[in-house]
């Protein structure tokens, strides 16, 4: 089956959805290549990220493909049955590009430059934009714009497939001789609903904007996004840094107003050849200090390749957290707030899994009682438990088995008098224990019971050793779990 065809083929009647035999019948020397949907998707993703220059709110149009896979029917042969699309919500962004027309022309031009053919449409509803971009009559530049109020005039001549209905419904309507949206609109709504269900009327209404598509009631927050485009492409690292700082200043001012701090920042570079470079920075604690944030990027920018030059940069704060205003001069110098810039730098250099802080968990097992977990706001230390028994300063994970020299029987509860750990013999002169530690009863899969001893050797070195009691073997096995100070 043909997955996609080019314009020349469509002129002589070879359409996507045709079987290869049929196509060969029309044109015997047809040039065929096997389809690679994954690669297509990758390209789409790249184009999508390119479109982020217009608005941060972009997504790939998977809608149509999904419908086709649900209904395993023969694909209607239309010129776009696998045409890929990208949604861009440009609400409030168009003025930055000198109006809607200029923005559309810019979009089409940019994608054309990459070697693709593209159609762009802008309309007040999602459905109408889809219908126009796929079936609308484009102007010479390859875009179409629905003027406010002029939507129904533009939609009337479009075929019914533009309504994004299931193929079976579309076919039924075709049989009845209903070819265009205009035809449908002229029919009484009640009879349409009675025959074909609610779906047609609903699609019509949402496309024409009579029924608003449901939007979640959360108030729309203006994204923390800033961009600079350059009249001349830049390639100098110093210039990029200066521009980035400019963006940071803008965003930090806005963050001060909103009382938030950045947690994740995405810095995007648009090169003139259409490729996009990205750099992502995470912070452990919300920050809105320009100097600190710029320093986080310093390290990253060194390996950015400007290519033939960079024509535009954007900075988007993807994740932010509340950060109340605070006094600079307080007596508590070393509060965590003061620490954020240093921690953020360490995390961005070594990764969050290397910068740790102690945390306590409610468990009896030593390796679960106290753990080291990544240093983030979410993991800030909880209440500390009261521990009255001496615990080792260093914990070996996992516990290491020790070689006991003397014969011990299972009945023996005292630790061995001599043991070998890492090739060194240790002669025990003092012992304390046993302290029986068992895993919680609700952890039934691997119940663990251990008898812990605190032992001291001749030199005074103290170890935390335990015997596995769940072992049913005759000679119990001993392990070392920690070193005392």
């Amino acid at each position: 089956m043909l997955f996609a065809t080019n314009l020349e083929a469509e002129k002589i009647g070879i359409m996507p959805g045709m079987s290869l035999a049929d196509a060969r019948d029309i044109l015997p020397n047809l040039n065929v290549k096997s389809a690679n949907p994954n690669a297509d998707r990758m390209v789409l993703k790249k184009i999508r990220s390119l479109c982020e220059r217009y608005s941060p709110w972009t997504s790939i149009d998977y809608l149509k493909n999904k419908k086709e896979t649900e209904k395993n029917e023969f694909l209607p042969a239309t010129r776009d049955s696998n045409g890929a699309g990208i949604w861009i919500d440009v609400t409030g962004c168009t003025h930055l590009f000198g109006g809607e027309e200029k923005m559309l022309a810019d979009m089409v031009e940019r994608i054309k430059r990459l070697g693709f053919s593209a159609h762009a449409a802008i309309a007040e509803t999602k459905g109408a934009a889809w219908a126009l971009s796929h079936y609308g009559k484009m102007n010479t530049e390859g875009w179409i714009r629905a003027k406010p109020g002029g939507l129904s005039n533009l939609l009337n001549p479009l075929p019914i497939s533009a309504l994004c209905l299931t193929p079976s419904t579309t076919r039924k309507l075709h049989i009845l001789g209903l070819r265009t949206i205009g035809n449908l609109l002229s029919l009484p709504r009640a009879s349409l609903t009675a025959r074909y269900g609610e779906i047609i009327v609903r699609q019509l209404d949402s496309t024409l904007g009579k029924v608003s598509e449901p939007i979640s009631s959360t108030r729309y927050e203006q994204p923390l996004f800033a961009r600079i485009s350059f009249t001349e492409p830049i390639g100098n690292l110093k210039d990029i840094k200066a521009a980035l700082e400019k963006l940071l200043i803008t965003l930090c001012h806005r963050m001060v107003e909103k009382l938030v701090g950045a947690r994740r920042l995405i810095f995007t570079l648009y090169r003139i050849d259409g490729t996009v470079g990205k750099s992502l920075v995470n912070t452990a604690y919300p920050t809105r200090n320009v100097v600190d944030l710029a320093r986080l990027f310093n390290h990253r920018l060194d390996d950015i390749d400007p290519g033939f030059g960079i024509e535009e940069i954007t900075l988007f704060i993807e994740k932010s957290d509340n950060l109340d205003s605070f006094q600079i001069e307080t007596n508590e110098f070393n509060s965590i707030q003061d620490f954020t810039s240093l921690i953020n730098r360490l995390i961005n250099r070594f990764g969050s899994e290397r910068v740790l802080q102690p945390q306590f968990l409610a468990s009896h097992l030593p390796e679960r009682t106290g753990v080291l977990c990544p240093f983030t706001k979410e993991n800030s230390p909880n209440a500390t438990p009261k521990i009255n028994i001496t615990r080792p300063v260093r914990l070996l994970s996992p516990p290491e088995e020790i070689e006991t020299i003397t014969m011990i029987t299972a009945i023996d509860i005292t630790p061995p008098a001599v043991f070998r750990w890492r090739k060194v013999l240790h002669q025990i002169i003092r012992t304390e224990g046993p302290e029986r530690i068992a895993s919680e009863w609700w952890r039934q899969e691997h119940p663990i019971t251990r008898d812990y001893f605190r032992v001291e050797n001749r030199k005074g070195q103290r170890f935390w050793i335990f015997r596995k009691t769940d072992d049913k073997t005759v000679t119990p096995r001993w392990y070392i779990h920690g070193l005392f100070s």
Binding site: E332, N334, L342, L346, P358, R394, R430, E432, K459
Partner: protein
């Protein structure tokens, strides 16, 4: 009086900044106050790099305890945060176990632990942390160090007036170091008291801390005992284990 002390300290520091003095450590006949003036007084260890060598790998626990004792006082006086960098590849001595910190009255939020891959990373972190002036103290465990490295850290510590500690687990040899204080830690037999003695249980941690190099001060060897009950580092009471003078070691 304090100004005067600071002035003297400055002169001594300036005067002895060149060259390294190796001498047989004088064993000080110390009283209870003396080690405190070296250890617990944050003013003295601020702005200096302390190097802690641990010749026997199994003594890492003792050295960790020693460092925590130093930290404990600092953190309680300043209410700050300390940074502890571990290097994974030295010797596997385990990681710091959070419940033990409670014994030193160090809250979990007061310690940030970094587990890094190489000496280079540890040294970078130590220097950056010192220069940022944010932490109260910086501790790093490294496998190798040399004069350049220690001098950098010493300068960073001095300029930012913060204490830095460098742990050298499993290190036996000697090398030139710019650290203003060099310690060597060994474990000693504990001295259980009371019921623990009767039951033959281990007592409080006992260490032999040898200050074998001290810029602007006198080297010495002390036997110390960490008292859990009072959260205090004291000299091991000589009456309990009277083996004449405290243990004497020679600097190689």
């Amino acid at each position: 009086m304090e100004d005067l002390c600071a002035h003297i300290a400055r002169i001594e520091r300036a005067g002895k900044s060149t060259g390294m003095r190796i001498s047989t450590p004088q064993v000080l006949n110390t009283n209870y106050e003396n080690p405190k003036s070296y250890l617990a007084n944050a003013k003295l260890i601020n702005g200096e790099l302390h190097e802690v060598t641990i010749p026997v790998p199994a003594d890492v626990g003792a050295a960790t305890g020693f460092c925590l004792s130093l930290l404990s006082h600092l953190l309680q006086n300043h209410n700050g945060i300390a940074i502890w960098c571990q290097q994974n590849n030295i010797i596997d001595a385990g990681e710091i176990y959070p419940p033990a910190l409670m014994e030193w009255k160090i809250m979990p939020g007061q310690l940030i632990i970094l587990k890094l891959q190489s000496d280079k990373d540890v040294l970078w972190t130590m220097e950056e942390s010192l220069r940022s002036q944010k932490p109260t103290a910086v501790i790093g465990e490294v496998a190798h160090a040399n004069l350049t490295v220690t001098r950098r850290l010493q300068i960073a510590a001095y300029q930012n007036n913060l204490p830095a500690l460098m742990l050298r687990p499993g290190w036996k040899g000697t090398y030139n170091s710019a650290a203003s204080k060099r310690w060597r830690i060994k474990t000693r037999k504990s001295q259980p008291r009371g019921l623990a003695k009767e039951l033959n249980e281990p007592g409080n941690p006992n260490w032999q801390a040898e200050l074998y190099r001290c810029r602007g001060g006198e080297p010495g060897t002390w036997r110390m005992e960490w008292k859990n009950e009072t959260n205090n580092l004291t000299l091991a009471s000589p009456t309990l284990n009277r083996s004449g003078v405290p243990h004497q070691t020679k600097v190689t």
